[in-house]
C-alpha cells in the first residue's frame, strides 16, 4: 500500500534526524545528570559554522561539515571544562535556569553576527536531486540522512560496547563514585562524552537543516522536540533514543498524512501514552 510505504519512508527519515540531534542530550543527561537545555545551541552552532564556511568561504561540503564538527566539539570541551562542570552539583532548577540563560545568549549572539535570516546550507552535487523509488521520489539528501543515522548508530554501538572508553562510560553512568574510586578518570569521561554529544548535535543540525531551518531561534524552537525524544527514550540509553525517535517520527508523519487537522495532538498523545506506560524509558524496565 503506497500510503503505508510513504509513511514509513518519511517517518524513518524524520526519526533519524531527531535521533542524531537528541542522542547527545540523552547521553549527557544520563551520565552527568546535567539538564542541558542549551543542547540545541550546539546544533545551531554546528549548522551555522558549516553554512558560513561552505557558503561564504567556499569550502567543500565534506570539509566544511568536518570543520564545523571539530569547532563545535572544541567549543563544547572549553565550555564544559570552565563553565558547565560547576553546575553538576547544583540543583536541577538551577541547571535549567543557567542553560536557558546560556541559550538566550547564544540566540542573541547568532542574531548579532548573522542577522535574523535563515542560514541556507548549500548541498553538494551528489546530494542534490532525487532518487526514484517506484512511484514516488525521495530527495537524495534524505537518503544520506538515513545512511548517516545508521552509521552513527553503528559507531556509537562500537564505542560503547567494544572500546575501553565505552566500559568507562557505562561504569560511570551506573555509579560515578565507585568508578572513580576504581581509577576511572571521571572528569575525562564526562568531558569526552559532553564533547561527543555536542558533536553529534552539530551533525544533526547540519543534516536536519532541510527539515529544521537554521535561524537564531533554533535552540528554543526545537527544544521541546529534543526533550520529548530523550524523555521517551530514557536518559542515557542510546538504543532507547533511537527507538523513541523512530517511533515518534513515524507517528508524527502518519498523523500528517492521515489526520493533519488534529495538529500535533497525536504526537503528544503518543508521548503521554509511552511515558505513562514506561516512565523510565522505552527500553527500560
Amino acid at each position: 500500500m503506497s500510503l503505508l510505504s510513504n509513511i514509513l519512508i518519511d517517518g524513518v527519515v524524520y526519526g533519524m534526524v531527531l535521533f542524531i540531534i537528541s542522542v547527545g542530550l540523552s547521553v549527557t543527561m544520563g551520565l552527568m545528570r546535567f539538564i542541558n537545555l542549551s543542547h540545541g545551541a550546539f546544533a545551531m552552532a554546528g549548522g551555522y559554522v558549516a553554512a558560513l564556511l561552505i557558503r561564504e568561504q567556499g569550502f567543500g561540503f565534506g570539509a566544511g561539515v568536518a570543520l564545523a564538527l571539530m569547532f563545535t566539539m572544541a567549543l563544547a570541551v572549553v565550555l564544559e571544562t570552565f563553565v558547565f562542570r560547576h553546575l553538576y552539583k547544583k540543583s536541577e532548577l538551577q541547571q535549567v535556569l543557567f542553560t536557558i540563560g546560556f541559550t538566550f545568549a547564544c540566540i542573541a549572539t547568532a542574531n548579532l553576527f548573522a542577522g535574523a535570516y535563515i542560514q541556507t546550507l548549500p548541498l553538494p552535487e551528489w546530494m542534490q536531486g532525487s532518487v526514484a523509488l517506484g512511484a514516488r521520489t525521495l530527495p537524495k539528501q534524505r537518503v544520506v540522512v538515513v545512511a548517516t543515522g545508521g552509521f552513527v548508530v553503528l559507531l556509537l554501538w562500537l564505542l560503547v560496547a567494544r572500546t575501553r572508553f565505552g566500559i568507562w562510560l557505562r561504569a560511570s553512568v551506573d555509579n560515578a563514585g565507585m568508578s572513580s574510586s576504581l581509577g576511572i578518570n571521571i572528569r575525562l569521561v564526562q568531558c569526552a562524552t559532553f564533547a561527543t554529544g555536542a558533536g553529534l548535535a552539530a551533525l544533526g543540525g547540519v543534516l536536519g537543516a532541510e527539515l529544521m531551518p537554521l535561524e537564531p531561534f533554533y535552540p528554543l524552537k526545537y527544544l521541546v522536540l529534543m526533550l520529548v525524544v530523550v524523555a521517551v527514550g530514557g536518559l542515557g540509553s542510546i538504543s532507547g533514543t533511537l527507538c523513541a525517535a523512530l517511533l515518534l517520527g513515524i507517528i508524527d508523519t502518519a498523523s500528517r498524512y492521515v489526520a493533519s487537522g488534529f495538529g500535533n495532538l497525536f504526537f503528544y498523545a503518543a508521548m503521554v501514552l509511552l511515558l505513562s506506560v514506561r516512565p523510565h524509558g522505552i527500553l527500560r524496565r
Binding site: H86, L87, K90, S91, E92, L93, Q94, V96, L97, F98, I100, G101, F102, T103, F104, A105, C106, I107, A108, N111, L112, V224, L227, V228, A231, V232, L235, G261, F262, G263, N264, L265, Y268, A269, M271, V272, L275, S276, P279, H280
Partner: protein, 333 residues
C-alpha cells in the same frame, strides 16, 4: 530536588500573623501608586503574573514538582472569564470565581493523571498537557477566536462604581489588592500542616510514605489549589486587558513563569513576587532601549543568578525582614 532556600522558621507570634509583612505589602501598594503613576500598567502586569508565579511556587517550590504546563491552567481561566463576561455577566468578581473554578477543574482532571509521576517524566507530561490545550484552543476557533484572539466583551464596573477605563487606575487597585489577598490566603494555607506535608514530600517522598501520608491525594489537592489560583491570574488578565490571545495558553508563558520563579527563589511566596517584578522590570527596560539585544541582558542575568550565593535575592530580603522583626519585637517587648 533540593530546596533553594526557605525563610527561617520563627516560633513566635509574628509567624502566625506576620503583620509586618502585610503592612509592608500594603505600604508598597500605596507607595508605588503615588510614586510612579505613569507605570501603573506595568505594575498591574507584574501583579497578575505574580499570582500565576505564586501558584507555580506551590507546585515547584513547596512540593518539588517542576512543571512547564502551568500556562494551561492560566489560559483556561482567562478564556473562562472572557466567555463569562461575553455570555453570562460582566461582573468582574463573578468572572474571577468562574475562572478559579475552571482552573481548578482542569487541574483536577489533568492532575489526576499527572501527579502519579515525578521528575523529568512529570515535566514532559505537563509540557504535553499545555501543548494539547494550546492546540485545542487553536482548533476551537468559534469559541476561543483562535489565532485572532477572543475579544468583544466588556467588563462591568467593579462594585458597580469603579470603571475599567483607559487610564488603568481601577485595574491597578483591582490586581494589586487581588495579589495581596492571594498572598495572604496562600501563605496561611502553606504554613499549615497541609503545606508542611507538601514540603515533606519534596524533601523525602519515601519517608513521608512511611509516615503514613497518602502522597497521591495530597499532591492532587495541592495541584487543584494551584490550578484555582492560576485560573484567578488568567481571569484577572482577561478582565483587565479585555482580550485573550493564544499566547495565554502557550509553552513560552509556562517557561517564563518558571524562570521568574527560580530567579526570585522557590519555596516561599515572596520569591515568586520578587522574581516576577525583577524579570518583568528588566524585560521592560531592556526592550525599550534595545529590543533585539535584551536577550543578552536576560541571558546574562540568568547565568549570573545561578552563580551567586544560594538564594541571593532571598538572603537580602531575609536580612531586611529580620532587622524589621527584631526591631519591632524589641519595641513590643
Amino acid at each position: 530536588m533540593q530546596a533553594i532556600s526557605v525563610l527561617p522558621r520563627m516560633t513566635s507570634a509574628p509567624e502566625r500573623f506576620p503583620w509586618h509583612v502585610y503592612v509592608i505589602g500594603l505600604g508598597l501598594i500605596f507607595g508605588l501608586y503615588w510614586l510612579f503613576p505613569g507605570n501603573m500598567l506595568i505594575m498591574t502586569r507584574i501583579a497578575i503574573m505574580a499570582i500565576l508565579v505564586m501558584s507555580l511556587d506551590l507546585l515547584t517550590g513547596y512540593a518539588g514538582l517542576a512543571t512547564l504546563g502551568h500556562a494551561a491552567l492560566y489560559g483556561v481561566g482567562a478564556y473562562a472569564a472572557a466567555l463569562c463576561a461575553k455570555f453570562l455577566t460582566g461582573d468582574p468578581l463573578v468572572g474571577l470565581v468562574v475562572a478559579a473554578g475552571v482552573g481548578a477543574l482542569l487541574a483536577l482532571i489533568s492532575g489526576a493523571f499527572l501527579v502519579r509521576y515525578q521528575g523529568l517524566t512529570f515535566l514532559m507530561l505537563t509540557i504535553a498537557v499545555v501543548e494539547i490545550m494550546h492546540n485545542l484552543a487553536n482548533k476551537m476557533q468559534h469559541i476561543t477566536g483562535g489565532d485572532d484572539g477572543l475579544s468583544g466583551f466588556t467588563i462591568d464596573p467593579l462594585f458597580g462604581t469603579f470603571e475599567f477605563d483607559i487610564f488603568g487606575v481601577t485595574a491597578y487597585w483591582y490586581s494589586a489588592i487581588a495579589l495581596f489577598l492571594c498572598y495572604m490566603v496562600l501563605r496561611r494555607i502553606m504554613n499549615s500542616p497541609f503545606g508542611l506535608c507538601c514540603e515533606g514530600i519534596r524533601e523525602n517522598r519515601d519517608r513521608m510514605n512511611a509516615n503514613g501520608t497518602r502522597i497521591y491525594p495530597q499532591l492532587l489537592k495541592l495541584y487543584v489549589l494551584s490550578g484555582a489560583f492560576a485560573g484567578i491570574a488568567g481571569g484577572l488578565s482577561a478582565q483587565i486587558t479585555q482580550v485573550v490571545g493564544l499566547d495565554s495558553m502557550g509553552f513560552t508563558l509556562s517557561a517564563e513563569a518558571l524562570v521568574m520563579l527560580v530567579l526570585g527563589g522557590t519555596g516561599n511566596l515572596i520569591g515568586a513576587i520578587l522574581g516576577t517584578a525583577l524579570f518583568t522590570g528588566i524585560h521592560h527596560f531592556a526592550a525599550t532601549t534595545n529590543p533585539f539585544h535584551w536577550l543578552f541582558v536576560i541571558g546574562g542575568l540568568l547565568m549570573l543568578v545561578v552563580f551567586l550565593p544560594q538564594g541571593f535575592v532571598q538572603k537580602a530580603v531575609n536580612r531586611l525582614g529580620r532587622r524589621v522583626v527584631t526591631s519591632t519585637a524589641g519595641v513590643a517587648a
